[in-house]
């Protein structure tokens, strides 16, 4: 279902499929852990999405590449005067 939903075509050797399957299984373990905290009202839910066949390292390497830097504390109207 995942492959169909997110249009995944893995390489013919089977290695790629096996590797992605491992990441997918690891994601399922993460979801169980993350959802165990989701008891409050409207709490976030976690599960399979388009990133579920990526390892956490791959995900970070592609999508989490921004830097913030240190910003000065806001000292606007609330503290003036």
């Amino acid at each position: 279902t995942f492959r169909k939903t997110f249009h995944r075509l893995y390489g013919g050797s089977g290695d790629e499929f096996t590797r992605r399957l491992v990441h997918f299984q690891e994601a399922a373990v993460r979801h169980t852990h993350l959802n165990s905290f989701s008891t409050e009202p409207q709490s976030a839910t976690y599960g399979f999405n388009q990133f579920s066949d990526l390892s956490q390292e791959e995900f970070r390497g592609i999508y989490l590449q921004a830097t913030g830097g240190t910003a000065p504390p806001f000292s606007g109207p609330l503290t003036e005067g």
């Binding site: 994601a27 709490s43 976030a44 599960g47 999405n49 990133f51 989490l64 590449q65 921004a66 913030g68």
Partner: protein, 214 residues
């Protein structure tokens, strides 16, 4: 301040985009803020070129990542105008920078501010209402598995790594939350949006906040 506020209701927020397999969130967030700031000022909402920033903002690293603050500094210092997205479409890879003449139509960043609102999220609400959508840099490690709802736990604020756009908030319910536009397409999260509990600097949402004027 109103109990609920959402810049999408004023038609100044462009649709959710998909950065694809390119670390260009920094460019999407900045361009999102610039095009919204222009619309907040009364001009029609126009989608501007993310690719232009990706290719030309040499202080950043294209698809390898970047900093919204550095991108805004570059835009302000060079007075480079962001052209329409249709003129310089997104390619999900950095290419050679295309230059446009000074007379070419585009949007120029006049000014921007960057502050930490840690412990001052009420002031951040005011900043949002007063200035328009805000660029923030968050720790989005747990977002790999996010499906929907309000993030209230296990989202650290120690390692900022992803830039997004805060477009509103809602304090009317039991759990007040920020409304945040991501750039991972509409199939991710709540139609491309993520909700983050207000107060407590969840995901580091208040640590590095930029407001833009055009």
């Amino acid at each position: 301040l109103p109990t609920r506020f959402d810049w999408r209701d004023k038609a100044v927020v462009a649709p959710v985009q998909d950065q694809l397999a390119c670390g260009s969130c920094w460019a999407f967030s900045v361009v999102g803020a610039v095009q919204s700031a222009r619309a907040v000022g009364g001009s029609p909402l126009q989608q501007l070129s993310v690719q232009q920033l990706l290719d030309c903002s040499f202080t950043n690293n294209g698809c390898g990542g970047g900093s919204p603050t550095a991108a805004l500094s570059w835009l302000q210092q060079t007075r480079e105008k962001l052209v329409a997205a249709a003129e310089y479409p997104y390619q999900a890879e950095a290419r050679i920078c295309r230059f446009f003449s000074q007379t070419h139509r585009g949007v120029e960043v006049k000014n921007f501010t960057v502050h930490s609102f840690r412990g001052q999220e009420a002031a951040m609400m005011a900043q949002l209402v007063e200035h328009g959508p805000l660029v923030v840099v968050v720790d989005a490690v747990s977002w790999q598995d996010y499906l929907g709802g309000i993030i209230q736990h296990h989202c650290s604020s120690q390692w900022p790594n992803h830039a997004v756009l805060v477009v509103g908030y809602d304090t009317s319910g039991e759990v007040p939350y920020w409304i945040v536009q991501n750039s991972w397409g509409t199939s991710w999260g709540n139609e491309g949006y993520v909700y983050i509990k207000m107060g407590g600097d969840i995901c580091g949402i208040a640590d590095c906040v930029a407001a833009v004027s055009v």
